[in-house]
Amino acid sequence: MARTEVRVSGFGGQGIILSGYIIGKAAAIFDKKNATMTQAYGPESRGGACSAQVVISEEEINDPEVSAPSVVVAMSQEAFTTFTKDLDPGCTILIDEDLVQPGASRDKLFAIPAMRLAEEMGKKVVANIIMLGFFAGKTDVVSREAMEQAIQSSVPARFAELNLQAFRRGYDLAVAAA
């Protein structure tokens, strides 16, 4: 596999950076590839626009910047507007359908109500992990097993089961809709 670039975006407090971290960790530690994550966020830790960029490759990664992503995850309208301009036609876009109005129809755009599903599970904070499950099901950037291991080793032990359930919820939706 040559270089693959992923951008996860939304606003501070949604777990965007953690999502990028989990994708990178799944690739680097559990899929045994190279992965580089960088992040961009404003001075405010909650509410401001933020994004995580992950570059994954079987070769050495020199340039850490994402310039032609294969996958963009947008968890807010602002993020969608900012990060879905000038994309390659083959780029997969994943959105939370309650938080993002995509406007014109696009190929390879997939939506789930991640936040609403998380509320149904009784934990709004796992919306990002539901989205990660959807991401794992809709793309082949990282393996499902690696993602589950990365989640398990990145969240507090007492919340591991909840997060894995959230992940599987998103994954199952992606596979069912395919």
């Binding site: 992965a35 020199n62 850490p64």
Partner: protein
């Protein structure tokens, strides 16, 4: 050898700042004094959590002036010690960094560079403290400075910095930058027994014969620890071999010449560079830190187009690899030097090239990293225009 708790053996997906802290711990650092500053705060934060776990001490000081002094004191107290900072804090540390040079005190200072001058760009990258690292404190001296390009190197080079500081009794600088510090990648931490550590060279003679500033053959003196029965006087004033002030031209010549020579005459042992494709090169790209990574992308693109381009990465920035640049200047037509400043290391390259090859500074004011495509266009220009010497500047706009 470090103990198990200090070395988190295994594979970690972590940022460069975390890796600097863990590198310090793996090297046996037991004392950290610092003041939080973006983008170096994560180093202090990690140390504040980890040092108490390994029987060490973390102190958040009132400022960076005190932080630098505290790590010097801790070193004379027998601890391996470390601090971290960025631009404005680095400026404040400069006075006592000089005290560390003069008193020959081993310790490590990490500067996670951001855009300057002044408070500049707190959250964004720069590499414009390279000359401050060399000349930021007053007086004449030599320094050792290393530049990591990845979280793995943040770990490895922080250990190396501790080893060099013990080998040459000198504060050693790790010149990281915001992108490397905040970038997350896999870091492999070896087993404690596989980590090479240089222990402090303790007195080989009894207290009555010991002189704390009497050099051995390699010009470096042995060092005693407070509380072990050795009497020592430590001062920033020019001093004799016992450490007592002697304010004369002769004492100055003897001491400061040795402080300079202990690094200059050992430069070949200290300097590390990474070289690729130099044998057939017409043009060599010279870079370091984060800029070396984007530069390497550009070199790969250039070679794919059939250009004979070599790559030289400076792992050690100071002492500068003068000899190597001089040799290479006889064989190539140009050096291309991308860095996130207005030509600090490019001027060193130009000085060593000595008019035998052109030096093209690929400059950048900071706040972002070089675009590999832009560096490629400068390489292509360097290949096309073969004539000329001296320093040329290619200014980059934001990517």
């Amino acid at each position: 050898m470090s103990d198990q708790r200090s070395v988190l053996t295994g594979e970690h997906f972590v940022n460069g700042d975390w890796a600097c802290a863990e590198g310090g711990l793996a090297a046996g650092c037991k004392f950290f004094a610092g003041y939080p500053i973006t983008p170096a705060t994560e180093i202090a934060e990690r140390m504040s959590k980890r040092l108490p776990e390994v029987g060490g001490v973390f102190i958040q000081m009132e400022d960076e002036i005190a932080s630098m002094n505290a790590i010097l004191g801790a070193s004379w107290g027998g601890s391996k010690s470390m601090t971290s900072t960025s631009g404005p804090g680095f400026s404040l540390m400069m006075e006592n960094f000089g005290l560390g040079i003069m008193t020959e005190t081993p310790c490590v200072l990490v500067n996670v560079q951001r855009g300057g001058p002044s408070t500049g760009l707190p959250t964004l990258v720069g590499q414009a403290d390279m000359m401050q690292a060399r000349w930021g404190s007053h007086g004449d001296y030599e320094v050792i400075a290393l530049a990591p390009q990845s979280p793995q190197e943040c770990f490895d080079l922080t250990i190396e910095a501790f080893n060099l500081s013990e080998s040459y009794r000198i504060p050693v600088l790790v010149m990281s930058d915001e992108v490397v510090g905040h970038m997350t990648e896999k870091v492999v931490v070896p087993k404690p027994e596989d980590i090479h550590l240089v222990p402090r060279r303790k007195p080989s003679v009894p207290p009555e014969e010991f002189k704390a500033f009497q050099p051995r053959e390699d010009l470096v003196p042995e060092m005693c620890t407070a509380g072990e029965g050795y009497y020592v006087h430590v001062t920033g004033l020019t001093h004799n071999e016992r450490g007592y002030p002697v304010v004369t031209a002769e004492a100055q010549d003897r001491l400061v010449r040795r402080l300079v020579d202990k690094i200059r005459l050992n430069a070949d042992r200290i300097i590390r560079v990474q070289e690729e494709n130099l044998a057939d090169a017409d043009v060599i790209v010279v870079s370091y830190g984060i800029s070396a990574r984007t530069a390497k992308s550009a070199v790969a693109m250039a070679r794919a187009k059939g250009y004979r381009v070599g790559f030289l990465r400076l792992i050690t920035i100071w002492p500068f690899p003068e000899k190597r640049i001089r040799e290479l200047a006889r064989k190539v037509s140009a050096f291309v030097v991308p860095e996130i400043n207005f030509g600090q290391i490019a001027r060193e390259v130009e000085r060593c090239a000595g008019g035998r090859a052109r030096t093209i500074a690929v400059t950048h004011a900071g706040g972002a990293i070089h675009h590999p495509g832009k560096v490629l266009s400068v390489i292509e220009e360097a290949i096309r225009v073969k004539s000329g010497s001296g320093l040329v500047e290619e200014t980059l706009v934001l990517r």
